[in-house]
Amino acid sequence: MHHTKRNSILFTGLGIFLLVLFVLNISLGSVKIPLQDVFTSLTGGNASKPAWDYIILNYRLPKAITAMLVGMGLAMGGLLMQTLFRNPLAGPDVLGLSSGASLGVAIVILGSGLVPGIAASFFLSSYSIVLASTAGSFFVLLAVLAVAQRLRDTMAILIIGLMFSSFTGAIVSVLTYFSTAEQLQKYTFWALGSLGNLHWNNIAILFVVIIIGLVLSALCIKPLDALLLGERYAKSMGINFKQTRFTIILATSLLTGCITAFAGPVLFVGLVVPHMAKLLFKTSNHKILFWATLLIGGVLVLLCDIFTQLPGSAFVLPINAITSIIGAPVVVSLLISKRKGIFN
């Protein structure tokens, strides 16, 4: 292991920062709750108001955990996609998975009037959105994998993913044209992303799926390092490229699909975090990037979530607004500083 002192300091710093943000995220919100009450609640005591206990333990705590999981999962997806496609502008949604999920949800929310009675009862059930989102990304995933098996050229997969995105986006546009104002608002709100209001059992599912996705990603560390030299060298070092590609796509799909199902499409995180990790640690070594991406991903989304709560006000901004506001300038500055080494 090529650990340097600088890396150790950075990792420790990031770890502390993550913890601090976690606590800060739980302490801030629409309702002003004094810090002391926050700590009392978290350590098992009773806050001054029972409503506050509930808010802290059953609303803010799940939201903070969700934020961390979302940040870690999407960031890892972005890292995998950027190395696999050797494209610095790739994100976890580049395979079209988020678009597939959006299409599924759009059909359920906007298209329920177009569907006969039997299906309508499913459409209006409480798990409809989660199931539709999962189904949507799953079908896109199958299509992408089927194509990937046949294609030798990795770039073609990227283009196909982008085409799926356009296609599903077009269908969603048509659906919005024929929907009512209420349906449109509901769909739009879903598409803006939301980290709150997840039950503990949903968080458990999210946690399990993300862990599986991260384990699969970890198995790709060695092949990803080999791929830094290109496919031909990687194969000559014993890497099974097709299997690696399959594993990477599978891991990304699990991570992205599950997160989109529960929190809606969260933009920019997957695109931006791998770059931040590479800039900060100045390395392409995936052993380091794996952990760096996880930590920075968690930090970024916790931070964005804090900004969505204009503290003390009832108005909460949607998470995508903040991630885009932070993400877009970062991407622009990356493109501007186009030097050979950093630009990966």
């Binding site: 292991m1 090529h2 050797r86 970890a218 198995l219 560390i221 060695k222 390092d225 080999a226 830094l228 030299l229 290109g230 031909r232 060298y233 194969k235 000559s236 070092m237 014993g238 890497i239 099974n240 590479k278 100045k282 390395t283 392409s284 070594n285 052993k287 050979k340 080494g341 950093i342 630009f343 990966n344």
Partner: protein
């Protein structure tokens, strides 16, 4: 020379491409015998099939006929992982952009031997250091791979192949893009590695004169012929006379080189 162990051999091999519709044969009756401690050059006109031959010898393509044996075992029976410990390659294609340092790049050569996550242990580090020393690039260890010259980068890639610790190393046109001085230094390095580190090294090239002067054996591919022999014997047997189609280019025995009329 004859006492050295055979590393790679090809017997009555035909190379080419086969699809559902047709079979295209690029060359046949290929017989090769590559031994340890030997630097062998592969020469031939453009389009004659050198790249196809290299791809077949490295297991990327299947031969249309014949058997290729590596260390006594049929080449097609190797798994990708097993092959990686027997054969390493050096290419001239440019590397994708990344932040790899020279050390990290050379260290990647250890992948066939490391654990699931690629950790380096003492013996790995020793091999890497030895590779860096043999190629005289220790002073470049901490530089990023895009900060060094092309010639230095090529040494780095050779060091990587050395770190991979394989009995056979195959290089694809390593002397292209280099000036005469660097060409000579490179070939001297390869010869050194062959003789002193016991490697079997095969490289393809268009630099015929240097190949004749510096390699132990040469393989000549032409339309009529496929010959492997020492340069001396090849010249004596007038193999180079009909190497090119052009009657205005001929091989002058006295000058030991090609002349244009």
């Amino acid at each position: 020379m004859d006492t050295f162990k055979t590393v790679l051999s090809a017997q009555q091999v035909s190379i080419g491409y086969s699809s559902k519709k047709e079979i295209i044969t690029v060359a046949n009756n290929i017989n090769i015998n590559l031994k340890a401690n030997t630097l062998t050059a592969l020469i031939g006109a453009n389009g004659i099939g050198k790249s196809t031959l290299l791809r077949t010898l490295t297991g990327i393509q299947k031969p249309l006929a014949g058997i290729i044996t590596l260390n006594g075992k049929d080449l097609s029976s190797f798994t990708s992982a097993e092959l990686a410990q027997q054969l390493s390659i050096v290419l001239t294609e440019s590397l994708p952009p990344s932040n790899l340092t020279v050390f990290e790049l050379v260290a990647l050569g250890r992948q066939p031997y490391t654990n699931w996550v690629g950790s380096l242990f003492d013996d790995d580090l020793a091999k890497i250091d030895s590779a860096l020393q043999l190629t005289h690039i220790e002073h470049l260890s901490n530089k990023k791979h895009f900060e060094i010259s092309d010639g230095q980068l090529q040494k780095v890639l050779i060091a990587r192949a050395l770190a991979q610790d394989t009995p056979l190393i195959i290089l694809d046109e390593p002397t292209t893009h280099l000036d005469l001085l660097h060409k000579v230094n490179l070939l001297r390095l390869l010869k050194n590695l062959a003789h002193n580190a016991g490697k079997c090294i095969l490289y393809s090239t268009h630099d015929l004169d240097l190949a004749l002067q510096l390699s132990d054996e040469t393989i000549v591919m032409s339309k009529e012929n496929f010959v492997q022999d020492t340069p001396k014997n090849l010249i004596a047997n007038k193999v180079f006379d009909m190497l090119f189609d052009d009657p205005n280019i001929f091989f002058d025995e006295n000058k030991n080189g090609f002349v244009v009329r």
